[in-house]
């Protein structure tokens, strides 16, 4: 009945549930289906080098989704994401690490165990920190979360029985599932193909979960707090509880992302969890689209591929030097400049990010030949 009513009238909604539905138009169903099929086929078409970039990007998607929940949906500006990523990376590394090794390890290399462990420990720390978010607003909170990053960096550098110490680092978590080692070449699939497919499955799971949080009562409470916290409190939203939920869930996502990103590289160095990493994640959600899950994914893939893109760009441009000196700029400097300019450019010209560009393109074609 409902289907026949909406047929031919794509924006017709006869119930709230339809409006909130996950894939509520034929276009979305087809689009998501095509993207998923392409994503599954990709590892059999692309080179292993490219798959590493994509696998890292997909793992970063989970972190970006988490940051978008707290900053995009709930409006609590956090520049402390690097801290939670670090907690996740080290928790996973410790749980799955070699008990006989140089650094602390428990030797439980089953993937679900260390992934959940990383998420839960990061979430617990997020819960402990959340009272600050309850008391502080806006830029005060942003500055305090910067403080967290500096403290975290110090702890990671000094606690060398866990982290291996600065400049040395330690092996990251090793993914094993049902007796298969996903981080080694197998008979059927290479290491890169397996990691890519693992990340793809996890991103789909985490993205659907986040989308469901966003469209539930908790998600609506987040949006109410973001838009005007006093008004939200007046209509009965429990500010303390929902800010704590936002921080905890976001930290859980960050912890899982931290654990996964470094499984791809196979190695964690304590210096990586700096303010720059937080800024990269903020850039992901701003470039992708604030308060959208698909935007977080687009942004994370885009920002993670910047490194490779600037390397390719450097090869094509004669005045860009290699990593060691020479030329007007080297690759890392080019990458830094690209980050900065992309953040500035998107915020000034397209505040809705890549998602906004997609919306404009979609509107253009759905309303063609009219302009709106």
């Amino acid at each position: 009945m409902a289907m026949s009513l909406t047929r031919g009238r794509p924006l017709m909604r006869t119930s709230y549930a339809q409006d909130m539905g996950l894939l509520n138009t034929r276009g979305k169903r087809a689009g998501v289906g095509v993207i998923l099929v392409l994503a599954v086929l990709l590892p059999f078409l692309a080179t292993d080098g490219l798959l590493v970039v994509f696998a890292t990007g997909l793992a970063a998607c989970i972190g970006a989704i988490g940051l978008n929940l707290v900053t995009g949906y709930a409006g609590q500006v956090s520049l402390g994401h690097a801290f939670f990523l670090g907690i996740g990376a080290y928790t996973a590394a410790v749980i799955s690490g070699d008990p006989e090794g140089r650094t602390l390890g428990l030797g439980i290399s089953l993937l679900p165990v260390w992934l959940l462990g990383a998420g839960v420990v990061a979430a617990a720390v997020g819960l402990v920190v959340s009272p600050l978010a309850v008391r502080l607003r806006g830029l005060y909170l942003a500055v305090v979360t910067i403080g967290l990053v500096f403290l975290g960096e110090h702890i990671f550098k000094e606690w060398d029985t866990v982290t291996g110490g600065p400049g040395v680092g330690r092996p990251s978590a090793r993914p094993r599932l049902f007796g298969f080692d996903l981080a080694a070449d197998g008979a059927m699939l290479t290491r890169e193909q397996k990691l890519y497919l693992l990340m793809l499955v996890l991103v789909v799971v985490f993205a659907i979960a986040a989308r469901n949080i966003a469209r539930s009562d908790v998600g609506r409470a987040f949006a109410a707090i973001r838009d005007r916290d006093v008004a939200a409190a007046v209509v009965g939203v429990n500010l303390t509880r929902h800010k704590a939920i936002a921080f905890t869930v976001s930290s859980f996502y960050a912890g899982c992302a931290g654990a996964l990103v470094y499984t791809v590289t196979g190695f964690v160095e304590p210096g990586s969890f700096s303010l720059l990493l937080s800024v990269q994640y903020v850039a992901m959600i701003l470039i992708g689209g604030v308060a959208t899950i698909s935007g977080s994914i687009m942004g994370a893939l885009f920002v993670s591929s910047l490194n490779t893109a600037s390397r390719e760009l450097a090869a094509g441009l004669p005045f860009i030097g290699a990593v060691t000196g020479g030329g007007a700029l080297n690759v890392f400097q080019l990458e830094g400049i690209l980050y900065g300019l992309l953040i500035i450019g998107f915020l000034i010209f397209e505040p809705r990010g890549l998602y906004g560009i997609w919306l404009r393109a979609r509107t253009y074609w759905t309303s063609w030949p009219f302009t709106y």
């Binding site: 403290l151 606690w159 900065g340 953040i343 500035i344 915020l347």
Partner: protein, 297 residues
Amino acid sequence: MARLIQGIVVGLGNGAIYALLALAFVTIYKSTRVLNFALPALMVAGGVTVSYLAAGAGMGYVAAVGVAVVSTALLAVVLEWCFVRPMRGAPVFIVAIITLGIDIVLRVVVNRFIGATARQVGDPWGIDAVMVLGTPVQERYLWFPLIALVIVVALLAFFTYTRAGLAMRATSFDQEAAQAQGISVRMVFTLSWAIAGALVAVAGALIGTGSGINQTTWVAALKALPAIILGGLESIGGAIIGGLVVGLVEALVGTYQADYAPWLGNNFAVVSPYVIMLLVLLVRPYGLFGTPDIERV
């Protein structure tokens, strides 16, 4: 005793620099309600200018600082025109993140000028030491608070006695009312960026004394953040006291932590201001001298 005196002198000296940086943050925050995360890069830009003019081209240190102050203020104004002015009316978080973007780009450019090793700024103090209460301390640490004091007095006089200063105070009090009185709020925004640029240029010239300016010097500018949070984002007096407290805490923790709490790890002094900041915020969410937001529904 000697270590205590040295710790206090070094702490107050560095604290004076942090106070200047904190003042720069507060000046911009008061007029535009935005935290300017581009200030670390501007500070290093100022320091590097001094380094090229004084240590490189052989200009006098004071003259070089003068040139750096003017050029950094101009740079800040240009940045404000290009990137911040189009965003007037946007949420403060968005503008703050834009300044972060500016900081990243500007730092890459400035790092090209610094190079791989530290650059000396050609200051007149070197490592000369004088005796304070029978303890040798580096002379420069005694100069920093004096220089900061002169600048603060001049700045307060500017805010209190000039028309432009009055306009800035009016804008910070109520932007719309100020506009209705014929104050050009745009001018005030630009002026606040210029003042902040000048302040951080001086801070950069001072922070580069001793071991010079290298590619990680910018991190020191972020120590102004605990200072302004301690003092409250919109309090000038708070910024100065916060800066001095941060400097003292850092120096004293650096002096004694290795003896009394070695388990906190090496270089804990560098992050100790952030611990103080977190503790203060748990007790007083608007800092020691900040004004609490009063919510009307």
